[in-house]
């Protein structure tokens, strides 16, 4: 079943279009001011874009140009470095491991955040404030500090050198953000819709499944993607908890490439491209939800 109602949150363009625009001929002075304003927008923006994109370009350059070349133009391209890294350095296996960790973290984070986020958005309950404070406080726990005790826990249950140790620790460290984002998205779904469904005889769970869930799709995509990105990028836990090479994730593999001095920079860059492409694509897709989710949840309290 698709959503019962169109999205009710007003978008910016709707609010902006509410008043009738008044067309007035611009005075020369105003015209000049407008031109200055445009320059003041585009010039700094171009500088920001250059600062952002040059590092990406630099890596692509190293990854795709033939060994020995010093050309600064991304042409002609070769895939020799990808071949080396994927088959020769085991990135094929690391990629599979990383994908497994990231997808499992995505699933666990999203499900737990859906449950908890619903409770935070829709219920008043004793201990809610305490729970929120505890969740927020976890943002202040340094990951490096948790290494020893986490290692001991995983060691005692035989999970060291297992990808599950990464899935669990990634999920735990990502939970506060997931929960806060998700409860923000749920709060954005009008309560009246759910109540209407109850009146129609739905149970709470049915109402959630039939009414809230379809409207929540952007939120779920966003929360899931962020969980994926943070698990995909996680380096500290991966390098500390994993020791056998067939369990390496992509960041660990990269750090080994980095460690080899006089490294093959083409291979390193190719490994970087392999590591970056999934997260950048996902991010480009969900970044608009991020802004939405933050304004609905975290920053707005």
């Amino acid at each position: 079943m698709t959503s019962l109602l169109p999205q009710t949150t007003p978008t910016r363009s709707q609010t902006a279009d509410r008043g009738e625009p008044i067309e007035r001929p611009l005075s020369p002075l105003k015209k000049r001011a407008r031109r200055i304003d445009r320059v003041l927008t585009y010039v700094p923006l171009a500088l920001f874009l250059i600062f952002t994109l040059i590092p990406f370009y630099w890596m692509l350059l190293f990854a795709f140009r033939p060994s020995g070349s010093t050309s600064l133009v991304l042409w002609p391209i070769t895939f020799e470095h990808f071949e080396t890294v994927w088959n020769g350095s085991g990135f094929g296996i690391y990629f599979k491991n990383s994908l497994f960790v990231a997808v499992m973290s995505l699933l666990t984070s999203t499900v737990i955040a859906l449950l908890g986020g619903y409770a935070l958005a829709r219920f008043k309950f004793r201990g809610k404030a305490l729970f929120l404070v505890a969740m927020l406080c976890t943002q202040f726990v340094p990951g490096a500090m948790m290494l020893i005790p986490l290692f001991e826990i995983f060691n005692s249950v035989g999970l060291t050198d297992s990808l599950w140790s990464l899935i669990i620790s990634d999920t735990v460290f990502h939970l506060p953000l997931s929960l806060i984002l998700m409860s923000g998205f749920i709060r954005n779904v009008p309560m009246e819709l759910e109540e209407a469904a109850w009146v129609d005889g739905c149970t709470r769970i049915q109402a959630f499944r039939l009414v809230v869930l379809p409207l929540l799709k952007p939120g779920i995509v966003a929360v899931g993607s962020f969980a994926f990105i943070s698990a995909w990028n996680n380096f500290l836990f991966a390098i500390m908890f994993i020791s056998s090479q067939d369990q390496f994730t992509v960041p660990v593999g990269l750090s080994y490439l980095l460690g080899e001095f006089g490294a093959d920079f083409g291979a390193l860059a190719a490994g970087g491209v392999i590591a970056i492409i999934p997260v950048v694509l996902l991010f480009a897709y969900v970044q608009k939800f991020l802004v939405q989710g933050l304004s609905a949840g975290a920053v707005k309290g």
Binding site: L45, G201, F283
Partner: protein, 309 residues
């Protein structure tokens, strides 16, 4: 939508049970999150406090047992501790200061209406998705003396060939700061942008009618709206930069000669590399105390915000 008929004729007793069950609903819902947090965060934090009072060094098995304040006393006389603490503060202040200036500027820019805004947004924010070791990989390629920017600058006659920006004592700090800013500015901007978008356009229109200038509009409309977000973003960034391990660990390894070792990095070296759990935990406790101060400020701010409503 099909109308689902009420299918349960509720008996009084059942209704009572249901009411009790309903009160437990939220606890079932937050249960998984709470249990995970307790087992994998709260318990570990507690055990770090326990270890900080113990002698626990794998390389010194004869020296075992209760240590009392020993670890903390040792810290006072440990120059590496003091240096890492000083560097951490320097790192946080410089990073957050620069990210504040550029993050705010970027948020204001990207909030304007212009052609290609959506694309520009995706592009300038993308480094945020590229964190940790991936950032390092990029900047290693840029800073490497034989293949990086330095080489090309030397080729066209600027600077010296073979200068490593990451091992010169004067340049290392700024080289790392720049790399961290590359991914830090976007997130700072995202947090502020979220609030900027909630500012009603009508306010600006009426300010235009009143003849207000750009600066006046910023100070009277924009700033009061985003102040809260700016404060929170600043604090969050401060905590994250404080805890940042990935970038420094991989880009400089804390070097040259410990010059870029932050407190958490020193913790990791002590506890994992030197296997001194007791001392590492004591260092951690100090780091935790400092961060608790941050979190108290943070909670105070968010709380006073709720009171405003």
């Amino acid at each position: 939508m099909s109308v689902i008929a009420p299918h349960r004729a509720a008996k009084p007793l059942q209704r009572k049970n249901n009411a009790r069950l309903r009160r437990l609903y939220p606890y079932f819902l937050i249960g998984p999150a709470a249990v995970l947090t307790l087992v994998f965060l709260v318990y570990p934090v507690g055990s770090v406090f326990y270890y900080s009072l113990q002698h626990s060094n794998v390389t010194q098995p004869w020296n075992d047992g209760f240590a009392g304040q020993d670890n903390f006393v040792a810290m006072g006389a440990d120059p590496l501790f003091w240096r890492s603490l000083t560097f951490t503060l320097q790192w946080v202040v410089v990073e957050v200061g620069l990210q504040f200036i550029f993050g705010l500027a970027l948020a204001l820019l990207i909030n304007k209406t212009f052609i290609g805004r959506a694309l520009a947004r995706s592009l300038v924010f993308s480094p945020w998705a590229v964190s940790g070791i991936l950032t390092t990989t990029i900047w290693i390629l840029i800073y490497n003396p034989s293949t990086g920017i330095g080489r090309y600058l030397a080729d066209i006659g600027i600077g010296e060939y073979g200068v490593s920006l990451l091992s010169g004592s004067g340049t290392t700090f700024w080289a790392v700061v720049l790399a961290e800013m590359w991914k830090g500015i976007p997130f700072f901007a995202i947090l502020i942008l979220a609030d900027l978008q909630s500012v009603s356009l009508e306010l600006y229109e009426s300010a235009d009618v009143d003849g207000a200038g750009t600066l006046r509009k910023f100070l009277s409309i924009t700033w009061p709206h985003i102040r809260q977000a700016v404060v929170i973003a600043t604090l969050l960034r401060a905590v994250w930069e404080f805890n940042n391990v990935d970038l420094l660990y991989t880009l400089t390894g804390g070097g040259p000669a410990g010059a870029t070792t932050t407190l958490p990095l020193y913790v990791a070296q002590t506890a994992i590399h030197d296997r001194d759990f007791g001392y590492g935990s004591a260092l951690t406790v100090v780091a935790f105390m400092i961060l608790t101060f941050f979190s108290l400020v943070y909670l105070r701010i968010t709380k006073s915000k709720e009171d405003d409503k």
